[in-house]
């Protein structure tokens, strides 16, 4: 046996426990999900039987599913863009020494330590028109702005997501900034580059892979948003704030249609899958540059 072949076998053997674990935790449930998606599996019907691609056909003809996809993508892209810009701006602000930096840094991270569902419950109380602090403050300054009015609800949900997850983009972009070699900035300063030029021609191009990864991670996470919106709006009025996650939950656990819900979950996987090569590519790019 050649050395290369031995290395290959050893590699597989050493990876085997992890691969088996992955198969048990990911592949098997996905297989079961796929199997369910091919069956008539409704809670109020005792019998379960195979229906082939019927659930997929019904799903693709379901207007509520498409409106959920549309809302989810709109929500995910808007929230992620705002969070990336704010997170990066904060990282730049923190990339210098100033009094109280450590305390402020710790405070910045509090929102991501809170579970989204708990955060949503807190917001429901804080923003309640009758007993909430924020509407009380708005009343004092003479504003009649209604946070949960149907015309303002999208903006309100985006703001709440930004409050919770900007800390995530801030933390990752700040870590990336810390890895920037100081020599580059020194050289730029000697060449007479101003702050704007340094930011747009040096910092951002070098951080591009990191920023792309952060953005894509947020997109993936936002697409899976469920608990906060479910608690605040239940997906309504109507289906106007229904995410794909809420659609799947309601289909399975309110309408009791596990087959249709499983098919929607599989379709969601296919929607998310194309993002992965981009993330991996950007991750590899970042790793190569850091070598």
């Amino acid at each position: 046996m050649t050395f290369g072949k031995e290395r290959k076998i050893a590699g597989w053997l050493l990876s085997a426990p992890l691969l088996i674990l992955l198969a048990g935790l990911l592949v098997w449930p996905m297989y079961l999900g796929f199997q369910t998606s091919m069956t008539h599996d409704i809670l109020s019907d005792f019998e379960t039987y195979p229906v082939g691609l019927e659930n997929y056909k019904n799903l693709l003809m379901e207007p509520n599913f498409w409106s959920a996809i549309r809302f989810t993508l709109m929500f995910a892209f808007t929230a992620s863009i705002v969070e990336l810009i704010l997170g990066f701006a904060l990282a730049l602000m923190f990339d210098r020494v100033f009094p109280g930096k450590k305390i402020l840094f710790s405070l910045m991270l509090i929102p991501i330590m809170i579970a989204p569902s708990l955060m949503a419950v807190m917001f429901r109380l804080i923003l309640n028109e009758n007993i909430g602090v924020i509407p009380g403050f708005l009343k004092i300054i003479g504003s009649s702005y209604s946070i949960f009015d149907q015309n303002n609800i999208f903006l309100s949900l985006i703001v709440l997501d930004v409050i919770q997850f900007t800390a995530f983009t801030f933390l990752l972009t700040y870590s990336a900034l810390q890895n920037m070699p100081s020599e580059i900035y020194e050289a730029a300063a000697i060449d007479g580059a101003n702050k704007r030029q340094t930011l747009f021609r040096i910092t951002m191009p070098i951080l591009k892979p990191a920023l792309a990864i952060v953005f894509l991670l947020r997109i993936l996470d936002s697409i899976r948003t469920f608990d906060s919106i479910y608690i605040l709006t239940g997906g309504g009025p109507g289906t106007s704030t229904q995410t794909v996650g809420i659609y799947i939950y309601k289909t399975a656990f309110i309408y009791g249609d596990f087959g249709l819900a499983a098919s929607a979950a599989i379709v969601l996987v296919f929607i998310l899958a194309p993002f992965m090569p981009f993330i991996i590519k950007q991750f590899n790019l970042g790793t190569e540059r850091s070598k």
């Binding site: 005792f46 009758n130 109507g238 399975a252 596990f258």
Partner: protein, 432 residues
């Protein structure tokens, strides 16, 4: 040789110990696992369980263990267990609006004495004439109003009539007896107590409207539909795309679009409706009977909250019962049946009521009126006005689908004409 004897003795002793440990104990009690949700019902039931385990349970050879799943997702978790035909829990938590969906997974209950219970509650747990679950707490709706405000209406009759004409386009006179209100009376009163139309109103809005896309809000809206003489179904066919169905949708639409409720009420449910009343921001609301204890003791409604049946010529209130049913796949059917039989007795339900539950037994509720005055209304309204949708196995789904289809009209995004046909279509789809 001596070592060998010692070894044999040790091995024998060990075998005896192991053997005794694994042999079934003739006196051991069978453990019955029952699901309930946390909160007042779970707390109250724990007292009944403790009392049973320490006395009757010993005679029955049954030990009940209660499992409290989360309040929000108990039914979701149960749905997964039922579909998997699990025997993990012996007794499931269910409700009138879910029993049709759960029925295939529940054993029929025998020997339940209907006469002990509120008729509307016990009947709402029958599927195809068979009792599928045992009633616990009964829920229905009251029209809550501020007694201090409503009594002031007659002194301002001219203003009331003028506001009613402006907002509703109708000639109406104040009606200070909410028990006889039509929906026009309720809307005119709400308009009168809205500062937009009456700057001197002590409340900012006249009405607190729970208009969130939530199936429990459909249950409240049903009272409007029934009060106007409508129903989901007529001869088994969807019946919302009709003048009565649209009129019921228009009641909510008018409240929202005319500004008689807060713009935020498009996202309101139980808690927000209570907050609007207790904070003094709203004067009236159709709300669950459970709210009485908070409303009668808190804020602006303290000692001022009045109770009336839902408005309408054919006054009706949705009634449902929380309940427990026996898992068809339980391996402890006999033991579970013993516990359920105990749970169906007056003493067990009295313990439940004393610990904070609202059992569906009128004799017990009557005895508790001094502690909660609304119990008298629960008994009266359940008998006089109580009604269940009874739309079959997918009743729960229809509630959810109607909330989804109707909530845009409730909150003024769409009109009744836009959603009525879609509501019928949603019902039709779920009837298949």
């Amino acid at each position: 040789m001596r070592l060998k004897k010692t070894s044999i003795a040790l091995a024998t002793a060990l075998s005896l110990v192991v053997g005794l440990a694994v042999l079934p104990n003739a006196n051991a009690a069978t453990t019955v696992k029952m699901v309930l949700w946390p909160g007042p019902e779970g707390d109250a039931m724990q007292k009944v369980v403790d009392a049973y385990n320490s006395s009757q349970g010993k005679k029955d050879g049954v030990n009940v263990k209660m499992i409290l799943l989360s309040r929000d997702n108990t039914f979701a978790k149960e749905a997964a267990l039922m579909k998997a035909k699990s025997s993990e829990y012996d007794i499931y938590f269910t409700a009138s609006y879910l029993v049709g969906q759960h029925a295939p997974y529940l054993s029929d209950l025998k020997g339940v004495k209907d006469s002990l219970y509120l008729k509307a509650s016990v009947n709402s747990l029958k599927v195809a004439g068979k009792q599928k679950a045992l009633p616990l707490d009964t829920s229905l709706h009251f029209m809550y109003y501020r007694k201090d405000l409503i009594s002031s209406l007659s002194a301002n009759a001219a203003k009331y009539t003028s506001i009613a004409k402006t907002v509703l386009g109708k000639d109406l006179k104040p009606n200070t007896d909410p028990a006889t209100w039509t929906w026009d009376d309720a809307l005119a009163t709400a308009a009168y107590f809205t500062q937009k139309y009456n700057p001197e109103s002590p409340t900012k809005y006249g009405y607190a409207l729970p208009a969130k896309n939530l199936l429990y809000n459909t249950m409240i809206w049903n009272d409007v539909l029934w009060g106007l003489g409508g129903n989901w179904l007529k001869n088994g066919k969807p019946n919302l795309n009709t003048p009565t169905g649209k009129a019921a949708i228009d009641v909510y639409n008018t409240i929202y679009t005319k500004g008689l409720t807060s713009p935020d009420s498009s996202q309101w449910e139980y808690a927000e409706t209570n907050a609007a009343l207790t904070s003094g921001n709203a004067a009236i609301a159709l709300q669950w009977n459970a709210a009485y204890s908070e409303l009668s003791t808190t804020g602006a409604t303290k000692d001022q909250v009045g109770i009336a049946p839902p408005p309408g010529k054919g006054q009706r209130t949705h009634v449902h019962a929380l309940a427990v049913g026996l898992n068809k796949f339980s391996k402890n059917q006999a033991a579970s049946a013993k516990w359920m039989a105990h749970l169906a007795t007056v003493p067990a339900m009295r313990t439940y009521a004393t610990a904070g539950g609202v059992p569906s037994m009128p004799t017990i509720l009557k005895g508790m009126v001094s502690k909660n005055a609304s119990f008298a209304n629960v008994i009266e309204y359940a008998g006089k006005f109580g009604y269940s949708a009874s739309a079959g196995p997918r009743e729960f789904d229809i509630y959810a689908a109607l909330a989804e289809v109707l909530s845009p009209a409730w909150s003024g995004q769409k009109t009744s004409a836009d959603v009525a046909a879609a509501a019928d279509e949603a019902i039709k789809k779920l009837q298949k």
